[in-house]
Structure formats: structure tokens, C-alpha cells
Symmetry: C2
Subunit: 626 residues, 2 copies
């Protein structure tokens, strides 16, 4: 698959954008006109720079408001077009995107439109240019991709074809399978963009909220499947207008973009394998023989079977040790060569890393996941352009395959075991393998704060590299604003990651958003009582909360009293019940203990505002404002 990206997706100057696209590994780019017009580079300099960078200049875009106009306007439009064709010849480009008219069209007549497009195609032919005509979702008269294609067929000119843009097609819910009936020689270009399903006017949706494939909710693999089956083999190029990408680091966004195409390529091959048209298509590699577009695939991974460990890091680890001990974790010893400790509670393993920078406050540093094959999973992640984590390994020590998540958390791909133990624990303490001793517990979920510039990137990262599935998006009120919350989990719920987008903080004192690790136990009340006995400092829940709880759930008075006595939070839905409590925060990290009853699958979302308010209050009191 030939990969491409429109320069409008990225921040910076044309030069910066081109360099970032080359580094990220794109085959070609679309030049967004404004990026050229505002650039000090001459067309000849752009051409030679692209050649040096090994980037194809695949599409010049957009040319707007050409068709369906009065004769006077047509004349001006043809003059304008010829100027652009001459410019393209200086750039060494041969394809231009012409969008269906949104502003100046006054005549709704396919015959006239075809006649005008024929004139444009003739002029284009004189300059060796191919015109890719695209129906915009909000085009005045032409807003359906099949309508645009019918016009192309009517004109039937070698220099006129169509451009298919997934956003304009899927935002309008057009049926995509009809693409397969198109003559592939008349498909000049394919643009892909994903988007969250929003109910808003399609122009605003398109201009601000598009995302890269895998970061939204469109059925892009199916769209691509139809394109491939039509016989198209040209560029597949991203055109994503997104307010955040436009202000993020250009090189990083380019890598995120490239990852989305690599993932889409795999998903498209998968869709094709699973949707053989009339049984005529072989699965897997046979596709390559069948369709002109070659689809590369990736090393396959299944979703992880569970968390292998969580790692917290600090300069002074005393507070972390104290907290884990009070929660009921057992200290299993130190690593034989590294300054790290192992703490366990059943199958919940926490590494305390003492190798943090001086004065570094406690924070979550790494997560380990159980996968079928760490080597294959790591190879896949690396092909998806995940940065590799370098770790020193001594002889006889387990080699961890580590990659770096968008928020800089280190992700380790570990060998799972049927009994839930981990061989690497033998490197700790007396060299014994540490069985699931003590109270039974597992890591239930981990809640990570995401930088706002990399939220969508994180969703794609965990989807593509770790096979986690994004759940419906939620928003939680807190005293400093709404917290956006995206759960990524496996189908069985064994791995649950919560990606939180914290509101921009006002005071420097509150700049670190608190993250946490939650452990599941089978008897939360007993766990809480023991922890209290060991002196654990619980997050203090206001009395008003328990009154409201009683008003909502009509709880048995003794049970309600126990909840309040122990600062436990409670939720209930049709599937079951959820009990949980939080520790105080040390540095930017705190711990949660949960008990899931029945098939309760949530996270106590109604209680999250209470947690935020109490944490805000205690932070506020400990750091009085100036």
C-alpha cells in the first residue's frame, strides 16, 4: 500500500512538515495549497527537497468551487486552474484534487457540470495533469461519492477521475460497497480519515474533529476493503483536519499518522480475509495475488491475558513501602543486581524502583502485561513505530521486551504463565520463585493521565500494539474541571487501562494529575479492616456522600454504617455491585482497592467526583494558595 499524508494534518512550516513525513516513513504527501502559498520555498525548491527526502508529491489540493457555474465564472475558473496546472508542472506534480462546488454553483444540471468538467479535463490534458474530482459531504449539489463518479463516467476523459475520501462518504452514511463496481482506472486518489461519531453539522465535524484511522469510530477497514476489491492500487493518504494535531509536535504527529496507516493496512487485509466476495477470494497471503494493491501485514498478537506487574518509582521510596505494607502487600526482597524491590499480594506484583532522579516524587513508571509471545508482540509494536525501552540485563536474568507509550510510561511485554506466577520473581530476595502467597489479589486496573496533545495517539497505540479495545468515552466532573476518561480493555476485562485527560491546571501546585493502580480483592471489608489495623491513611469520604448513597440505594443500615466507618465507596447496577476505597496520595500516585460483586464491569463512575473533590480539597489545604 502506498502511504501518504496531506500537509494540512500537521503543524509547522511546509519544510518542517516534509521533513517529519520523510522521517515517519511516508511514501508521498499531498500538498495543501495554503502551505505552499505561505512558504518562502519556491516550487522548484519544494520539488528538489521532496526528491532529496524520497517523498512523492502525490496530490495538489484543494481546487475549490469549479463546477455548475455561469459562463463568466467558468472562464475565470479555467484561468485560475491553468495557473495551478503551470505551478504543478514546476512542482513536478501530476494530480490535483477538485472538490465539488460548495459556494459559487448556481446551476444544478449534470449535463452542464459534465460539460464544464470536460473543459477542465481538456485543459488538464494539455498540461499533463490528472483531475481527481471529489464530492464534499456538504457540496451544494454534488455531495454523494456515487454522484461524483457518475459525472466522471459521463465525461469519460483520461484526465478526469474521482477521489474517494472516507470522511465525506462515512459521515453521510453512504453505502460503501458500491465502490467495488467502479472502474479502478477512474479512481485517481483515496483519502482516509477517521472520526468520533458526533452529532453536529458535518462541516464543523470535518474541519475540527477528524482523527487518524483507529482513533475514531468509522468502519475504515470495510471502506478500504471495498476500495481494494475495486482494483485500486494508488496512494492511500491521510487527510485529517484536527485542532489538536495542528498544534502538536510535527514529528510526533507524523509518526502517529504513519502508525494509523500501518494498522489500517493490517485491518483491511483482515476484513478482506473475513469477507470473501462470493467465495472467490482466498484468505491471507492469497490476497496479494488477487488484487493489485499489496497489503502488508504485521506480526499477530492476541489481547494480553492480564497485568504481569506494575512499577512505581521514587527518589525516596519510604512512603510507597509504607503504603503497600499497610494495604497488605508482602515485601519479597530486593533484586539481585538492581535497586528495585518486589512487593506482592497474591498475583498482584508491584515493583518499587529506587533509581529515580534526585527529589523525584513517587509516580507510576512501568506496566507489565502477560502476552503469548513477548518477542512477537514486541516485533509488532516496533513495526508500529513504538519506541523501544532500553534496559540493562545481566546474564541469567529475564529479558524484558519494553516499548514506550505516548505518555512515556514503559510497557513491558511479559511471558504469562498458566498459574499466574512470573519466573522473573526468582531474581528477587532469596532466589525463590514467589508463589501467590498471602491474601488473594490481582491488579484490577491502572489509571494513567495523558497529555492532551497525545490522547488520540494513546488510544491508537493501545489498540494497535496491545489489542485493547476502546470503550465508550466518559466525562467526570472535578473541582478543577471535567476529566475526560477513556477505558481501554480486553474483552474479558482481565486488563483494564483508564486513560484520563485532566483539565489544564491553573495553579502550579496542581499541575501533576494523580494516577493510580487498583487491586481487586475478594473481601474488601476485611481488607479495609486489616489495613486500618495497620494504620493505613484512607481517603476521607464526606458524610454527605453516605446520606446520598442511602437515598439512592436504600441500603441495609448495618452495611451502610460499615461503608461509612471504613471510608468505602459503593456502586450498584443491573450487573452487580462495586465496593472500593482509595489511599492518600504520595507524589502523583495513589492506590485503590476494589471488590467486584456479580458481573459489575464498571469503575464506580458515580463516585469519581467524590474522589476528585476530596483529593482537591486535601491538596488545596496542604498547599495554601498565595
Amino acid at each position: 500500500m502506498r502511504t501518504g499524508i496531506a500537509t494540512v494534518c500537521l503543524s509547522g512550516t511546509l519544510k518542517e512538515k516534509m521533513q517529519a513525513c520523510a522521517i515517519a516513513g511516508f511514501d508521498g504527501i499531498e500538498i495543501f495549497e495554503q502551505d505552499l502559498v505561505t512558504s518562502p520555498l519556491s516550487p522548484e525548491q519544494v520539488r528538489s527537497m521532496a526528491a532529496d527526502l524520497g517523498l512523492g508529491l502525490d496530490l495538489y489540493q484543494p481546487f475549490r468551487d469549479f463546477d455548475g457555474v455561469t459562463p463568466d465564472l467558468l472562464k475565470a475558473n479555467l484561468r485560475r486552474a491553468e495557473a495551478k496546472f503551470k505551478l504543478m508542472s514546476r512542482l513536478g506534480m501530476d494530480t490535483i484534487l477538485v472538490c465539488s462546488n460548495v459556494a459559487t454553483a448556481t446551476i444544478d444540471d449534470d449535463g452542464l457540470r459534465a460539460e464544464q468538467l470536460a473543459q477542465l479535463a481538456n485543459l488538464a490534458g494539455d498540461h499533463g495533469v490528472k483531475v481527481a474530482y471529489e464530492a464534499l459531504a456538504w457540496g451544494k449539489y454534488v455531495n454523494d461519492y456515487e454522484h461524483a463518479y457518475r459525472l466522471v463516467e459521463m465525461v469519460d476523459h483520461p484526465n478526469l477521475g474521482t477521489c474517494l475520501d472516507s470522511f465525506h462518504i462515512l459521515s453521510r452514511d453512504w453505502e460503501t460497497s458500491h465502490i467495488e463496481a467502479f472502474n479502478p482506472e477512474k479512481i485517481f486518489f483515496v483519502q482516509v480519515a477517521d472520526a468520533p461519531k458526533l452529532s453536529m453539522d458535518v462541516l464543523s465535524w470535518s474541519r475540527h474533529y477528524r482523527v487518524f484511522p483507529g482513533e475514531g469510530q468509522f468502519e475504515l477497514a470495510k471502506f478500504m476493503g471495498h476500495v481494494v476489491r475495486a482494483g485500486y492500487s494508488g496512494p492511500v493518504s491521510l487527510e485529517v483536519f484536527n485542532d489538536v494535531f495542528r498544534q502538536s509536535d510535527v514529528e510526533r504527529t507524523a509518526v502517529d499518522a504513519m502508525r494509523s496507516l500501518i494498522w489500517l493496512e493490517e485491518q483491511s487485509a483482515k476484513w478482506l480475509a473475513g469477507n470473501a466476495a462470493g467465495g472467490a477470494v482466498d484468505a491471507g497471503g492469497a490476497l496479494r495475488r488477487r488484487y493489485p494493491m499489496e497489503l502488508a501485514t504485521l506480526p499477530k498478537v492476541s489481547e494480553p491475558a492480564g497485568f504481569n506487574f506494575a512499577e512505581v518509582k521514587a527518589d525516596d521510596t519510604a512512603q510507597l513501602e509504607k503504603l503497600l505494607g499497610q494495604l497488605g502487600f508482602a515485601f519479597e526482597g530486593r533484586h539481585r543486581t538492581k535497586d528495585v524491590q518486589l512487593w506482592t499480594m497474591g498475583q498482584a506484583r508491584v515493583i518499587i524502583n529506587e533509581q529515580a532522579a534526585q527529589h523525584a516524587e513517587p509516580a507510576i513508571a512501568a506496566l507489565g502485561f502477560d502476552v503469548d509471545s513477548p518477542v512477537i508482540a514486541s516485533a509488532r509494536a516496533q513495526q508500529l513505530k513504538a519506541p523501544v525501552v532500553a534496559r540493562k540485563v545481566q546474564a541469567d536474568e529475564e529479558v524484558f521486551q519494553g516499548i514506550c507509550a505516548p505518555d512515556s510510561t514503559e510497557i513491558f511485554l511479559c511471558q504469562g504463565s498458566p498459574d499466574g506466577t512470573a519466573a522473573w520473581t526468582r531474581e528477587f530476595g532469596e532466589g525463590l520463585e514467589h508463589p501467590s502467597a498471602g491474601a488473594s489479589a490481582v491488579i484490577d486496573h491502572v489509571n494513567l493521565a495523558q497529555p492532551w496533545q497525545h490522547f488520540d495517539e494513546a488510544v491508537l497505540f493501545y489498540t494497535s500494539a496491545l489489542a485493547l479495545e476502546p470503550q465508550p468515552f466518559a466525562e467526570v466532573p472535578s473541582p478543577s474541571g471535567l476529566v475526560r476518561s477513556q477505558v481501554m480493555q480486553t474483552s474479558d476485562g482481565a486488563v483494564r487501562l483508564v486513560l484520563n485527560l485532566a483539565p489544564v491546571q491553573q495553579a502550579p501546585a496542581r499541575q501533576t494529575y494523580q494516577e493510580h493502580i487498583a487491586f481487586a480483592v475478594t473481601d474488601l471489608v476485611a481488607t479495609a479492616r486489616s489495613a486500618r489495623g495497620r494504620g493505613l491513611e484512607f481517603l476521607q469520604i464526606p458524610a454527605n456522600y453516605y446520606e446520598d448513597l442511602d437515598a439512592r440505594f436504600d441500603l441495609e443500615p448495618g452495611f451502610l454504617a460499615t461503608l461509612q466507618e471504613l471510608n468505602l465507596l459503593y456502586d450498584r447496577d443491573a450487573d452487580g455491585e462495586f465496593l472500593h476505597f482509595y489511599t492518600a496520595t504520595v507524589g502523583s500516585v495513589f492506590f485503590e482497592m476494589v471488590e467486584r460483586r456479580g458481573s459489575y464491569d464498571g469503575y464506580g463512575a458515580p463516585n469519581a467526583p467524590v474522589r476528585h473533590a476530596v483529593q482537591y480539597d486535601s491538596l488545596h489545604r496542604s498547599q495554601p494558595s498565595s
Copy 2:
């Protein structure tokens, strides 16, 4: 008018919110349930704190999903309601908001709903509570305010009335005049919120994009006029869910909120005066005798007649002096007592203030506006809670009435003169009044960067205090993201302010968004040639721009060559033409020279991306990334 605000509008804890509301001068508040549930304050403590602060506790809210349910659910709902009624008695509150059911209603039957609401009203009566029933815009069966009122009439119980919320009514485009037919004794509460007209699902619109009155596009004065004419005289309370307000400084947001109600009160009185129902109503003060709600008014101001001056400030003013001199400004001398200089070009007056902090880069510090009566305008602004600017004044010097805009720019209200001169200029140089000497020029517009937390506040500030009118909102692409641009201007265009919301910057080097002052001249080409002769450094416009300009406008070749030779930008629309150029930036400020031909009323918006790209490029080159 009794003023109120819901705690959900603000950031912080319940205690912080209550304190901020008291400081801003609200008569009462609505307690949003979650704010109480998450608070460590007991109901009794909240009650006593409100009493100490002089705040009425006017509404407990919301009680959700009560009506149209099965008998089992009704029983649970009544139990839940009774718990809240008891809580309200501890708080000393007597009115609760009950929203029409959005989630659990299964029976669409007004008879049943009325019967269930009657049970609720009976229970409320037992506890001395009044139930204000409100139709949510997305209520499952009840989403029209007249429907909610019909139910209230059907039940006809002294403890059941309706709550009118402008958002739920105006977002659905319901006809508001029918409010006048309501029995005022059945209107228990009125909530007001404004909103920009967005085309999106009404729930998202409501939960994220509400703004304070005067910051959106709803016809709130008309809505309030109907409410007043119905005979309502209870609280008028803000309920504004807004993502930005929720994370902004609580005290500042409360003042912004209070300003919006003071403004709305005046606008409502104006609407009533201008819309006498059947001639039965007297204009102006007579309203107070006619309707039970008393509407306070403000000192009246007309829109300003023009800019009186602009002031730039720096520690080292040499660059500013050089730039103004090169542009053709004349140095008129120093102030007789202050370290400031006066520079003029025709009626364009620029003060260079040398009293900046050490190392402070050049920046826009103040703007003067010509108004009919500075004293009245200042009194009005102060009643609208604008902070006053303190300036030292010597005997014989003109006393400037100064207020502080939300972005900290100082706004001076000056006495205009018929011939465009300013008496205070006699305090400069030789003590002469400085006539409109030299080339003719005026301040055309000023472009100010706004902090993202205070953008809506700024719109209301300039609307209410300076009588500027917001124009349609625009967005301009720049290499670091989209720039939001809001023009505020007088009806004749004599005063034009452009409020820009810059994208969050990544690199510290780019954190200051560039602002500018634009001067209008009658012959831009001549002005540019003279400036070039004096060595002015123009913002360098790329050659690609002129090629595109030619493709778009088919300009006369000699004219095009002149534009390119002088780095002039050009725009044309149906009303006229616009020529302009920019200087290089010093500190965070640059200057623009413009020539308006015909009735061109814009700002050369198609050229703004060029300006942003070139400025980005030069900033980037002077400060290489690390």
C-alpha cells in the same frame, strides 16, 4: 431583580464557590447536589456559612427521573425525594428543582404523570418544600416548557410550580411569548443561560457550551421580558455548564457571571420599554410600578466614536521609536511629568510608555476610546464590576477614566472632540495642542490576544461596558494551530477590536502571541514607498503568495508587481478592496498599515495565514529549537 447562580457554574469546592458568589454580590445561589455530596461541610455548616455570607440558598438541584414511571420505581423515587426534603430542611432550603424524566420514564401519559407529581407535591407539602418542575430539552416525554406548565396546572397544588430555563426553551426554538399567559404564582424559579448557536445534539451543547448572558446568541432580553410581563418576581439565576468556566479562577468567573446578570437586567428593561404590550405599558421608570419585578438600570453609554490613542510600553523603547518614525509618525515630544512620549500621524496617536518593568519587551499596554461622557462611561463600567485603573494625575492634567479589560489591557474613556483632536496632547512637548499634522491616518483596528480562560468574559466586557457589537466568529490557520478570532466593533466601524485566541504554544519561545495596532491611510502604496525610503523592515511576503493572488484575482500586471515589490497584501470582495502591510515584530507587538477602498469592511482574512506563517518562520529561525 434577585440575582442567583448555580454552584455548578464555578470551579473549586462548595466553600470556595460560596465565598466567590458572595464577593461577586449575588443575592442567592442554587446548590448543585454533587457539590454538597462531595463536600466535607455538613448541611448545618453550609446553612450557617450562607447566612454569614449573606447568601440566600434559593434552589436545591437537580432531582432527576421522577415522573412517568412504574409503581415500584415511583415508590423508590418518593423515598429518595423524602430523603432530599429532610436534607433541605437541615439546609434551611425550601425549593427543589425536579427535571422531566430522561432515563427511567416508560409511560407516556399526562394523567399518570400528573398523578405522580401530585404525590410528590403532597409529600413536599408535608416538609414545607416547593417543587419546581422543569422540562429538559431532551426529556423523554416532556421536553417543552408549556407541557411542563400544563402538568403543573393539572395538578394544581400549592407545592408544585414550574421552573423556566432559557437554555431548554431557546435551544428548542420554542415560542417564548406564551410565558406571559402563565400564572406567576406557578412560576417557582427562572434559570438563565446563553449559548452560541451551534448545530449539534442538544445534550452536548447544553453540558459543555452554555455561556453567561451576553456571551452567546440567544434572545435573552426578550425571554426575560416575557417572564417579567407574566408577573414573576423571584430569583433570576444562572445555570451555565461550561468546560472553560469549570476550570477557571472561581472568583473571577463569579464576577463575570454577575456582570452578565447586571447587563441582562438592563437589556430586559430596554426590551420592555421598546415592546410595550398593547400600549398599556409606560416606557422607562414606569415599568417599576407596572410589574412586580424591579429592574435596575445602568448609566447609558453610546458606542465610542473612535480610538483616542493607543499606548505601547517597553523597558527599552528604541525599537518602537524607530518603527513609528519609519512608518511616518512624528515625534511630538515628551510628557511634562511622566516618562512617556507622544507620536502622531494625522489623528492616529501612539503613546510610548517608558515606565515598563526592567527587561520588559515592547507590548500593547492601553487603548483610549472617544466617548460622549468619560465620567458616565466609567460609572457604567464600574457598576459592571470592571476594575478601575489607578493613574497618578498632576494638577492641570486631564483625568483619565481607566478600567481594566479581562486581558489586563488598560482601557481609557476619553472625551472625544468634533475635529478629532485631543486636549491632553497639550501636556506633551512644548505645551501646544497638536493638530492633525502630517499624513492623514487613523487607528483602524487593534488586535489583542486573549487568555483562553477569559475569551467569553472579554466578549461580554466589551459588549456591556463599551457597547461594541460582536461580529461572526472566524478561525485562521497558523503553523502552530487554529487562531480563533472575534471582531468587536461599532456599527460605523470607527472602532474595531479583534480578540484573538491563540493556540496553546508548545515551545516556551513562542509563548507570547503577537498583538498589533493597525493604522488606516488613504494611499497605502505611497505610505509604503516612503516607509521603505526610511528603511522600514517589512514583513517579507513569499513570492508564491503573489502567484496565487494573480490566479485568484487576475490583477493588472503593473499593480501586481507593485504589490510584490512593496510586500503589500491584497484582498477584494463585493464591497471593495483592501491593501495592507505589516512591520516586523518587536517584543510582542507589530504594526499594520491598511487602506480600505470602497466599502470593504473586513481585515484581509484570506491573508492572515500568510502573516502567521511568515511570523512563525522568522521567530523559528531567530530561536532555533533545542
